[in-house]
C-alpha cells in the first residue's frame, strides 16, 4: 500500500535483507546474544563490517545497553536475542523501555513457521508475552513482509511517544531469500501520531501563563525525548518568562541545574522549594511529564489551587490521573516553539511585581536548604553517601560525563547531588525502577561515546543483578566506572522498613557480599575501596585517572536515609525533612499512605 512503488531486489537470505534494512535505518551497533534460532543472522553479521555487535552476558543487559545507547544519542537502540529464553530474558528491559519511552527495536529469533504452536524446542509465544511489554510487536510469517516490517518497526519506535518495538523472526524467514526495498516515505496506514500542537490551546496556555501570579514550569522526559533543541528552547522560554522551573527524575538535564531559576527535582524525594512551589502555584505548565504518582503524592491534595496546562505527545497521558484545564497534544519541541512565539505575540503585560513576590516566597523555601547534610571530615569518619556523590560531581566537572544509576537510595542521591547542565547525560530507570539497569545502560552509553566518562552510580545490591556484564566491559574495553555507594543494605527497602514498618529489617540486609575489589580484578577491571572520609577523594581521582573499567567500592553510612521525603499518601506540603531539620517535621505517614507504597 506504499505510495511509492519500488522495485524489489531479491536478497540471498532474510538475514541479509535484515542487515541491509538495519543499515538503511542508521544502525551501527547491535547489542545481542546468540542462539539456535538466530544463527543465520549471526552468520550474516560475521560476514560484514558496518554493524558492530556487542556481545552481552545476559539478554536483559542487551536491552538496557540499547536503552543507554538510545538515551545518550537520541537514536533507536537495537537488540538481537534468540527465541524462547533469549526472548523471555529480554522482557524486563522491554518493559523498562516502555515505561520510560525509550526507542528500541528488539529482534527475536523464533522457531521455524511450520513448528510454531508445537511446543518446539526453545519456542515461546514471544509476541503474546511481549504484547503489553512493547509499544508494538510483529511476527513475520512471510518473507515478502520482512523488510517492510523491519522499516516499520524503526518508524514506530522513533516517532510519536517513543518506545520499544519487537520483531519476532522465525528461522525459515531468516534463511529463505527475501525481497529488499528501501524505507518508504509514505505515511503509515493506521499509525499517525500527532506532533503539532493545536494553536488555540497554545493561545489559551499563554493567556493563563501571562496572567499568572505564582507560575511554575514542570518539565519531564518528554522534553529530553524531543531532542536537545527542545531543552534549549525550554531554557529560553523559562528565562524569557522569569518563571521557576523544576524537573522530574526523567527530565533532569533538560534545564541547567546551575540556573538561578531552577528549583531542583520535584516529587517524593524532591526539594522543599520544588514541591512547595508545585503545591502553591496558581498556574502550572507541565511539559512532557505525566503526573506520575511519585510526583503528585496524594492526588486529591495535589496542587489544589492551580490551573494546569499539560503538554504531552501521548493524548492518553492527559487527564489520566490529574484533570487539567488546558490539554496540548504535541511534541515538546513543537510545543515550546509555539509557546515562545505566542508569548512574544500576546499583548497582555506580565505582572512582574507578583512574580517577584512569588520568587521571594520561593527563596524562603530555598533558604531551608532541604538537601543539607553534615559530613564529619575528621580522619576515620564514615563517608556520607551524599558527600560521596557531591565529591564525585566536583571531580568530574569540566569532563564530558554521563551518569547512569541502579535503583534505590543511591539513585535518589545521584539525582539530588549530581547536577546536570545538558540533556541526554543522565539515564536512570524511572518508570519501572529496575535494579540492574545502571551497569548495562552505562555499557551502552560508553559504546556510543567511547571517549566520554561514563559512571554508574550504584548500590551494592543492584550491582549484583547484572554483575556478569563486567565481562562485556572487559571484552570490549569499555572503561565504565561503577561507583558503588555500599551501605550493606537494600537501603531504600531498609528506609521504608524504618519509617513504615517499625524498623523490622526483614530481608533487606545485603548478607554475604562479595569483595568488590577482588571481584573487579577477577573480571580484568580495577577494584578500589574507600573506607573512611580521607580515602574518598583519592579513590575518586584514581578511578577517573584509569582508562579501564573500575569498581569503586565506597563504604558509606549504613543508616543514612533519603530526605526530603513525601511519604506515600501525603500531600506535598507534608514533607519529611532530614535529621538536619529536627523540629520542622509534621507527622508523616498516614494509614492510607501505607497501602499506597
Amino acid at each position: 500500500m506504499d505510495g511509492t512503488i519500488q522495485a524489489a531486489e531479491l536478497m540471498n537470505s532474510g538475514a541479509e535483507a535484515i542487515l541491509r534494512a538495519l543499515k538503511a535505518q542508521g544502525v551501527d551497533t547491535i547489542f545481542g546474544y546468540p542462539g539456535g534460532a538466530v544463527l543465520p543472522l549471526y552468520d550474516a553479521i560475521f560476514q560484514q563490517n558496518e554493524i558492530r555487535h556487542i556481545l552481552v552476558r545476559h539478554e536483559q543487559a542487551a536491552v538496557h545497553a540499547a536503552e543507554g545507547y538510545a538515551r545518550s544519542t537520541g537514536k533507536v537502540g537495537c537488540v538481537l536475542v534468540t527465541s524462547g529464553p533469549g526472548a523471555t530474558n529480554a522482557v524486563t528491559g522491554l518493559v523498562d523501555a516502555l515505561m520510560d519511552s525509550i526507542p528500541l527495536v528488539c529482534l527475536t529469533g523464533q522457531v521455524p513457521t511450520h513448528l510454531i504452536g508445537n511446543d518446539a524446542f526453545q519456542e515461546a509465544d514471544t509476541t503474546g508475552i511481549t504484547r503489553q511489554a512493547t509499544k508494538h510487536n510483529y511476527l513475520v510469517k512471510r518473507s515478502e513482509d520482512l523488510v517492510r516490517v523491519i522499516h516499520e518497526a524503526f518508524q514506530v519506535a522513533r516517532t510519536g511517544r517513543p518506545g520499544p518495538v519487537l520483531v519476532d523472526l522465525p528461522k525459515d524467514i531468516l534463511i529463505n531469500p527475501a525481497p529488499y526495498r528501501e524505507p518508504s516515505s509514505a505515511p503509515h496506514r493506521s499509525y499517525r501520531p500527532r506532533t503539532e500542537p493545536d494553536p488555540r490551546r497554545i493561545e489559551e496556555a499563554v493567556a493563563l501563563l501571562k496572567r499568572s501570579a505564582r507560575p511554575v514550569v514542570y518539565a519531564g522526559g518528554g522534553v529530553i525525548n524531543a531532542g536537545p533543541e527542545a531543552s534549549r528552547l525550554l531554557t529560553e522560554f523559562v528565562r524569557m518568562t522569569g518563571f521557576p522551573c523544576t524537573n522530574t527524575l526523567m527530565g533532569l538535564g533538560s534545564f541547567p541545574a546551575s540556573d538561578g531559576q531552577y528549583l531542583g527535582m520535584l516529587g517524593m524525594h524532591g526539594t522543599y522549594e520544588a514541591n512547595l512551589a508545585m503545591h502553591g502555584c496558581d498556574v502550572m505548565l507541565n511539559l512532557g511529564a505525566r503526573f506520575d504518582d511519585r510526583v503528585t503524592g496524594r492526588l486529591n491534595a495535589f496542587s489544589p489551587g492551580s490551573k494546569k496546562i499539560h503538554a504531552d505527545i501521548d493524548p492518553a497521558n492527559i487527564n489520566k490521573s490529574v484533570a487539567v484545564d488546558v490539554a496540548i497534544v504535541g511534541d515538546a519541541l513543537a510545543v515550546l516553539k509555539a509557546l515562545i512565539a505566542a508569548w512574544k505575540h500576546e499583548p497582555h503585560v506580565q505582572d512582574r511585581a507578583a512574580l517577584a513576590q512569588w520568587w521571594q516566597q520561593i527563596d524562603v523555601w530555598r533558604a531551608k536548604d532541604s538537601l543539607r547534610y553534615t559530613q564529619n571530615r575528621d580522619r576515620g569518619s564514615i563517608i556520607k553517601p551524599q558527600y560521596a556523590v557531591e565529591q564525585l560531581f566536583k571531580a568530574t566537572r569540566g569532563r564530558e560525563t554521563f551518569v547512569t544509576t541502579e535503583v534505590g537510595q543511591h539513585q535518589m542521591w545521584a539525582a539530588q547531588y549530581f547536577k546536570f547542565e545538558k540533556p541526554n547525560h543522565w539515564m536512570t530507570s524511572g518508570g519501572l525502577g529496575t535494579m540492574g539497569y545502571g551497569l548495562p545502560a552505562a555499557m551502552g552509553v560508553q559504546v556510543a561515546h567511547p571517549d566520554a566518562l561514563v559512571i554508574d552510580i550504584a548500590g551494592e545490591a543492584s550491582t549484583l543483578m547484572n554483575i556478569q556484564e563486567m565481562g562485556t566491559l572487559a571484552q570490549f574495553r569499555l572503561p565504565v566506572k561503577i561507583f558503588i555507594l555500599n551501605n550493606k543494605y537494600m537501603g531504600m527497602v531498609r528506609q521504608w522498613q524504618e519509617l513504615l514498618h517499625g524498623s523490622r529489617y526483614s530481608n533487606s540486609y545485603s548478607e554475604a557480599l562479595p569483595d568488590f575489589v577482588k571481584l573487579a580484578e577477577s573480571f580484568h577491571a580495577v577494584g578500589l575501596r574507600a573506607e573512611k572520609v580521607e580515602d574518598l577523594d583519592r579513590v575518586i581521582a584514581e578511578m577517573l585517572a584509569v582508562d579501564r573499567p573500575v569498581i569503586a567500592d565506597i563504604c558509606v553510612d549504613e543508616k543514612e536515609n533519603v530526605f526530603p521525603m513525601i511519604p506515600s499518601g501525603a500531600p506535598h506540603n507534608e514533607m519529611l525533612l532530614g535529621p538536619e531539620h529536627k523540629g520542622d517535621n509534621r507527622p508523616g505517614v498516614t494509614d492510607a499512605g501505607m497501602a499506597l507504597v
Partner: protein
C-alpha cells in the same frame, strides 16, 4: 473529584485486520482494569483488510476518555469513535433455546410472537428463537423466558452505528 459518575459507552474501533489485534485490545482492557460489557469483531472491508470492533464499557468520564485515548494509540487502530456521544443504533442478536411442553410451551410461543422473535428450529419439546434488538430488549425477553423453560442462550454482543449521515471513515 469531578466526573465520578459512571456512564456506559459504546465505542467503535476500526482496526487493521491483522493477527493479534483483538488480543491487543483485550489486553489493554484487562491490563488497565477497564470493564468490557460486550465486545464484537468482524471484518468490514471487501478485501478483509479492516475489522470493526464494537465495545460496550462503563466508567467515569475520565476513564472513558482514557479508554478512547489508549485505543487510539495502538498502532493498528485507524479510528476510534464514541457512539454514545451522539444518536446511534445498537443491535444484538440472540439465539434462545426453550425446553418444555404443554401450557409453558404455548406461552413461550406467545411471548416470542409479542417480541417478534423468529422460530428457527423446533422439536416437540423445544423451540429455538432468533431475536434481534437492543440489549435491553433481549434482556427483557430472556427474563420472560426464564419461567417458561429457558435452557440456553447464545448472544452476539452489540453491533452499533451512528444515526444519520455520520460515518466512522
Amino acid at each position: 473529584m469531578p466526573g465520578q459518575n459512571l456512564r456506559a459507552a459504546t465505542i467503535s474501533v476500526l482496526v487493521e485486520n491483522e493477527s493479534g489485534v483483538l488480543a491487543r485490545v483485550i489486553g489493554l482492557f484487562s491490563g488497565r482494569g477497564y470493564n468490557i460489557d460486550s465486545l464484537t469483531v468482524a471484518p468490514v472491508e471487501r478485501d478483509g483488510s479492516k475489522s470493526r470492533i464494537t465495545i460496550v464499557t462503563q466508567g467515569t468520564e475520565m476513564v472513558i476518555e482514557q479508554i478512547k485515548a489508549q485505543l487510539d494509540r495502538l498502532v493498528p487502530v485507524y479510528k476510534v469513535l464514541d457512539l454514545s456521544e451522539g444518536p446511534h443504533l445498537s443491535r444484538e442478536l440472540a439465539l434462545i433455546k426453550v425446553l418444555g411442553t404443554g401450557e409453558k410451551r404455548a406461552e413461550a410461543l406467545r411471548l416470542a410472537d409479542a417480541f417478534r422473535a423468529r422460530v428457527i428450529d423446533a422439536t416437540t419439546e423445544s423451540f429455538t428463537f432468533e431475536l434481534t434488538g437492543a440489549t435491553d430488549k433481549l434482556d427483557a425477553f430472556l427474563d420472560l423466558m426464564r419461567p417458561v423453560g429457558l435452557a440456553e442462550v447464545s448472544r452476539t454482543g452489540v453491533a452499533a452505528i451512528a444515526r444519520g449521515m455520520k460515518t466512522i471513515g
